[in-house]
Symmetry: C2
Subunit: 229 residues, 2 copies
Amino acid sequence: MIKTSDEKYLRAIYQVSTSEKIDKTTISELAYYLDLKPPTVLERLKILKAEKLITYTKTNGIALTKTGYKEALNVIRKHRVWETFLVKVCKFGWNEVHELAEQLQNINSEKLIDRIFTLSGEPKFDPHGDPIPDKAGVLPTSQRRPLLNSVSGCKCLVLGVNEDSAEFLNYLTELKIGLNDKLYVEKIFSFDGSVKIKYKNTYSAVLSSKVAEQILITCTKAGCGCKNK
Amino acid sequence: MIKTSDEKYLRAIYQVSTSEKIDKTTISELAYYLDLKPPTVLERLKILKAEKLITYTKTNGIALTKTGYKEALNVIRKHRVWETFLVKVCKFGWNEVHELAEQLQNINSEKLIDRIFTLSGEPKFDPHGDPIPDKAGVLPTSQRRPLLNSVSGCKCLVLGVNEDSAEFLNYLTELKIGLNDKLYVEKIFSFDGSVKIKYKNTYSAVLSSKVAEQILITCTKAGCGCKNK
DNA sequence: TAAATTAATTAGGTACACCTAATTTTGTGT
DNA sequence: ACACAAAATTAGGTGTACCTAATTAATTTA
Ligand SMILES: [Mn+2]
Ligand SMILES: [Mn+2]
Ligand SMILES: [Mn+2]
Ligand SMILES: [Mn+2]
């Protein structure tokens, strides 16, 4: 049986290893993500390895085994289903749910998750646009890419964010940018890569490249020539 | 700040000390209720005492202080609100929710409990008929007493049960006895105190005194002479 | 009231999830 | 190739929540 503590690590390993900017999943990356010290993480990894949930070699770093991946996706499912429930049913803001979902994700009842999932309208994506795996561990697909790689004149739809942090989401909320909003890319400043956008008729903003990198969009203008990925 | 572990003990102390059949709340009673050994409980009680959440003297046993009582009722509230949500909104059976609510009761978010409470229809009583304290810690009242103390000819309404255990609730469910059902007391066998009831037009059953003791009812027949309490 | 029983307490563990400091291994730049 | 920096590992803690076995105190019961 997989323990609460295992779940935390498996989710972290999944998140770190699917993150764009990290090539190899190392102990120090994991420790940073989990806000723990490397020896603590190493100790637990040895157990996960013994449980055959991960493999770990110096050359390839940390990777999930088939079983480990299955378990990781199950935790991801629980986390994202709870987040969706909190936003859709309980009317929380998308910036308020991540930490709470981290508590709720280790409640141990498949039946409960099923009911919460139904109550939330059987969602395919969570409030941050992240795909929710089905019970078999299959992720729905969507072609999303960072707003950063757009060209001026592009018309986009916001499909998600790369960051869950309340800090970042608060910022977007302040700018009145949310999931499924339409953005018009007015200009890209090649100097620093910042992006000027217009949206919701009256709003406009200049987003730093750091912010534009975190906003995931899909281009809705046919053949606009924006570089995908 | 009150910890998860404190909450568990405070709820237990409340439950044991309000239980009819236990006169003094002792370490061994608590240990039995919590399924722990006495030294473990004693150790924790020392901390709770230092935190001024309980008082403990050999003569009076364990008692909650004002603060401790406040906290205990808050956990009780969370537990019972979750149970109600699980039954009313998630369509669980009343026999399936206690253990799950024990996990959920330590989720730390007042806002979440408020939303769950609203979604459940702002209930005053949980699925077992137990009163849900309001946010100020005030319990709604209802005059309930064991079915055991009835007289033949009595007409009763089931308002609750003394036992949460799945085992007991399964038994009642099998007999088709549930909350708010009307029972007609046909006969009391003075030999062993068992109670013959008729209900739902077609059903009838003989309940042992042990069972009748756990079913809480209110008498709906005026002046039927049944001994209250 | 003395003996027997039961409850409370003390003493001294284990397992787990974390830590710091020290050492060893690995990777990089010149 | 060598020196330096970064990452991994080892060694040896801490605090918390539990345990058993032994002792002491309090209650019953004879
Ligand atoms: Mn999240
Ligand atoms: Mn999310
Ligand atoms: Mn309960
Ligand atoms: Mn209940």
